[in-house]
């Protein structure tokens, strides 16, 4: 099965850029353009130290999560032809989405590394924690994809809700702003937005060298819960999806 989803995913990436001259490198430019706007246009208004690093890592993690969630909400609907015409298990489509998002993220990763290098960030052993945090996020991704794919298939309206929420999400997640101090609204959003913790487990070790224990535990618990729900839903509703498409 691994061959099927990997072949389909590489084909998807190629197809999206097939007629362009620089191909998937557009994904890298897209990331750099985004980061550039935040770094040069938004400036370091909030007084965030190492703002370039803050943006580069935060944006990289956010774009990955946003890509996964926005893409998975319509996953089964997009795969209707194959779901209704083949016996491929649903996991093939989930893993196709995972590999597609990882391939896309690799291009953004190059951009992120480039900004880190240019901003003078010095690699340290704490960066290993960031790498582990990224791994944790990728491990949770299939479960999240399953949950959102079922949501989108059974409740079509949710596609619009989730797409809009993810658009707003970029602004209510501390990608390019910091929480500040005291009881400001930013502080409240920072604390209650679950995406914050997924950003911070990757970003904080690189920025400060510290290990954000609470955020790590929070993300791990969310991951385990997502996997439990995903497997239960896959087992209970997997065979019914075909009737809802």
């Amino acid at each position: 099965m691994r061959r099927v989803w990997f072949a389909l995913a590489t084909e998807d990436i190629g197809d999206q850029h097939r007629r362009t001259t620089i191909g998937p490198a557009w994904l890298l430019f897209n990331y750099l353009a985004f980061a550039g706007v935040f770094i040069f246009v938004f400036q370091r208004g909030a007084g965030i130290p190492s703002y370039e690093t803050y943006i580069a890592v935060g944006l990289f993690v956010w774009l990955y999560m946003s890509d996964v969630i926005s893409g998975s909400i319509s996953l089964f609907v997009r795969e209707e032809g194959l779901i209704k015409g083949t016996k491929l298990p649903l996991s093939v489509y989930v893993m196709r989405m995972v590999s597609q998002s990882v391939i896309r993220a690799t291009y953004a990763f190059l951009g992120c590394a480039l900004i880190l290098m240019m901003s003078g960030a010095v690699p340290s052993s704490a960066w290993i924690l960031s790498a582990l945090a990224l791994l944790l996020i990728v491990v949770i991704a299939p479960a999240v994809i399953i949950l959102f794919a079922f949501l989108g298939a059974f409740f079509p309206d949710s596609q619009f809700i989730v797409t809009n929420l993810m658009r707003i999400g970029m602004f209510i997640t501390p990608v390019f702003w910091a929480p500040g101090t005291g009881d400001s609204i930013r502080h409240v959003i920072y604390a209650w937005n679950p995406f914050t913790y997924f950003l911070e487990i990757v970003r904080l070790p690189i920025l400060t060298g510290e290990f954000p224990l609470f955020a790590f535990v929070f993300c791990s618990v969310v991951g385990v819960l997502c996997w439990i729900f995903a497997l239960v839903i896959l087992g209970s509703f997997g065979k019914k999806v075909v009737f809802y498409l």
């Binding site: 061959r3 099927v4 072949a7 389909l8 084909e11 190629g14 197809d15 097939r18 032809g81 194959l82 779901i83 209704k84 015409g85 083949t86 016996k87 491929l88 065979k239 075909v242 009737f243």
Partner: protein, 240 residues
């Protein structure tokens, strides 16, 4: 020993009506024997009480009007739709030819499409490599095989699809309609190949409106009407 047994198979599924700003059509009947309406949901009874059994050598023709449940029954046998009630027991590896262009990528070359389609069919990579040359040869695409599919005419794409789909040697083969691919010369070749497959396959279930085709290919005929078995007879009896 290949076999298919279906016992009292029923399939009911729900279709949600779309929200529409147009005035509701009062001519739509609330309940028919196939569709029941409750609120925004339509309950469609696609199959009801379908029973039959097939053993090696059987060639079953599925006939009936559009919407009688032929394609649905094929998909139940293939395992795409789980039956709502009843049982389907299948011994043997099942292959299906429903939509011949399923999974084709127009930006990829013919050669790459053979690989992709093979993987989707569940074939191993080495099996695909082994069949590659004979598929290309049968498709008569020549140098076009290394051009993207979008450069093909419809007939060429259909020839490629047909060549891939029929390169398998199935134990049980499910087919929805006959495949009329390409020009008359290719169609003749296609008919011969289908004849060979029919001989090699343990069981064939073929849904078609083509009376002559059913008569020449099948030994049994199952006639469906509104999802129910109208009759299950030998092909000679059906012809009369």
């Amino acid at each position: 020993m290949v076999s298919i047994t279906a016992k009292n198979v029923a399939l009911v599924y729900r279709v949600r009506k779309k929200i529409s700003l147009s005035w509701p059509d009062s001519r739509i009947k609330k309940d028919t024997n196939k569709v029941a309406v409750s609120g925004r949901n339509l309950q469609v009874e696609a199959l009801k009480d379908v029973s039959f059994s097939l053993t090696a050598g059987d060639r079953l023709g599925l006939v009936g009007r559009n919407g009688a449940g032929k394609s649905t029954l094929l998909k139940v046998l293939y395992g795409v739709y789980p039956p709502t009630s009843g049982q389907v027991e299948i011994n043997g590896h099942v292959d299906a030819l429903f939509n011949i262009s399923l999974g084709f990528r127009k930006e990829a070359t013919g050669r790459r499409n053979i690989l992709l389609r093979g993987l989707i069919n569940g074939w191993q990579k080495h099996e695909i490599e082994e069949r590659m040359d004979s598929i290309i040869e049968f498709s008569e695409l020549g140098e076009f095989i290394d051009l993207p599919l979008k450069a093909y005419s419809q007939g060429m794409a259909a020839r490629l699809a047909f060549s891939i789909a029929t390169s398998l040697e199935p134990e049980i083969l499910l087919m929805d309609e006959w495949i009329g691919a390409g020009d008359p010369a290719f169609q003749k070749k296609a008919r011969e190949r289908m004849g060979n497959i029919a001989q090699k396959a343990g069981i064939i279930v073929l849904a078609s409106h083509n009376r002559a085709l059913i008569t020449s290919t099948c030994n049994k005929v199952l006639e469906l009407d509104s999802g129910r078995v109208k009759r299950l007879v030998d092909v000679q009896e059906w012809e009369e």
